[in-house]
Symmetry: C2
Subunit: 365 residues, 2 copies
Amino acid sequence: MTVTPRAQSPRELQVLSRIEAFRQRRPRLLEDVITLAHGAGGKSSAALTDAVFLEAFGNPTLAALGDSAGLTLPSGERVAFSTDSYVVQPIQFPGGSIGHLAVHGTVNDLAVSGAVPKWLSAGFVIEEGLSIEVLREIVADMTEAAALAGVEIVTGDTKVVPRGAADRLFINTAGIGIVPTDRVLGPERVAPTDRILVSGTMGDHGMAVMLARGELNIEADISSDTAALGGIVSELLAAAPGTRWMRDATRGGVGTVLNELAKSANVGVIIEEARLPVRPIVNGACDLLGIDPLYVANEGKFVAVVPVEESEAALAALRAHPLGEDAAIIAEVVAEPPGIVALRTPFGGSRIVDMLVGDPLPRIC
Amino acid sequence: MTVTPRAQSPRELQVLSRIEAFRQRRPRLLEDVITLAHGAGGKSSAALTDAVFLEAFGNPTLAALGDSAGLTLPSGERVAFSTDSYVVQPIQFPGGSIGHLAVHGTVNDLAVSGAVPKWLSAGFVIEEGLSIEVLREIVADMTEAAALAGVEIVTGDTKVVPRGAADRLFINTAGIGIVPTDRVLGPERVAPTDRILVSGTMGDHGMAVMLARGELNIEADISSDTAALGGIVSELLAAAPGTRWMRDATRGGVGTVLNELAKSANVGVIIEEARLPVRPIVNGACDLLGIDPLYVANEGKFVAVVPVEESEAALAALRAHPLGEDAAIIAEVVAEPPGIVALRTPFGGSRIVDMLVGDPLPRIC
């Protein structure tokens, strides 16, 4: 049955002709099939997003998005809209579960865009055979996390697939937040001399999950930092109203966030290595695995760019919050070379901090 | 690391104590593990939703929802919010792909709630090894479907899992629609003598997917009916402004929708079997499989309840639309017995049409 679509507007015809061209083109990718690196948040992820998703979906709202889209309703009210799927393995780990991540991850995307998170949807893909007791624990984790983050889970969906067609449980959440009328954040506001802060220690979540898999011969007491950032973000914005831009440092870690910042703001970033906050035990585990904590996922940390004159007030506000005790000013924005992140060592040396290549830590979130 | 949560409001404390009680209770379910039936949209799905999701998430907004939640923004503007995950196998089939379903399914949830669909999020869980060419085709299908439905895909996420941890591709979409100020639909508005319409033939999608799997020894030319219903729903509402309630008849089919209606509106429903629109070829395939087309999924059909005096105008409006040529008045609302759906045969017999038990058609959407 072929149904004639309804009369098409000029706008629709434009999209359809763009998509026809997309169908005809060869993809601008080196690979023919999806690899784990395409999901790691680094170079391959960016290439896939550009060559498939942005090229196809391309629309003015999408083009402007970081992690969340800014929407303007007919009344003029502004909302932020964001989504993430969670495929972490194992689904329960020290410090949290896939349920905590599914709430915190999406709430944090909204919070760092400057919005006040309000409502979540939750979509579950469950493998046949999952224990209902485990499912109940994870759903309880989600409800608690939502209550503490001040959001409601208002709509949902459940799909079950046969054994072997999924790995226990995947969760997708989408979230809506309200954007205060006076709030403007964006990479275009970032300028040389701005300071870059991170709200606490790096790499705790990624290392906690890696160790929880038990595949590594390391015994270390590391817990995920999964947490909702709405409260600490509000404290920062009150103390540093000139804040330029924020991003939660999840997949790909702080190193990836700073690379995205350098590219989107067309600036350089100089990191002071001595100032990077990393727990010694996390540092030790990263050393053993040969992974730089700059690239390890966090689930309760964010990066903020503030004007230099507000940087000390911003740091004090972060450190005064229970989630920000280890906050630090870690880097400075410079004009040259644009798009590049460099790291200065305590001994005066320096090296380039590039986008992540490959996927050292699959299924971390 | 345990972080003391911020000072808790009375509302938050109430949720936390409810969740503590939820954690302590034994689930009110017969099974200990998830089965395919929990995802089929029938009796087991309803039991799982009640005993796990509604019991945990329970909040005023969630309690009122059918497939989409109605949200009121600070400005007073109303929006609808809905989500669905798509796990159909195979991901491409006669008449469409998982990409069409992912757009149409969520857009249709919003449209039948009375909202005008506007924005979608899209979350992809991809199995390592998926062909990028296939991914591009599906993303192109999504873009086309969105353009024809008048919505934009504005935010997204991609996760990749290792071979064997998922089956090729799962997609989640969440959607936001604008609710016109004068629009009120709900099961509480349904009353005896109301007529129930279906917008076209039943079972095309489910049978198309079953046959596409090639596991059945049946050759039949059946295509999915996947389509966006926003346009035909608008035509219906213009012709029958007294419309009480609508629902798209996806997983579980028209039989499940009518059972949900009877229970939520606390009315009886009498179906006239002779009026049920089913293509002969679909009927034949259902016969061979021993499945009643009343329970087979559609992806471009909806059920509407209208006052008897508007029923002929409603039918004419549906039939005038390309997606509604086979629309029919199939049932009547009665007072007794409440919660029960019965079917009257052409020969004067009758039988109860119960909720679906088990899952005859897994991974149909």
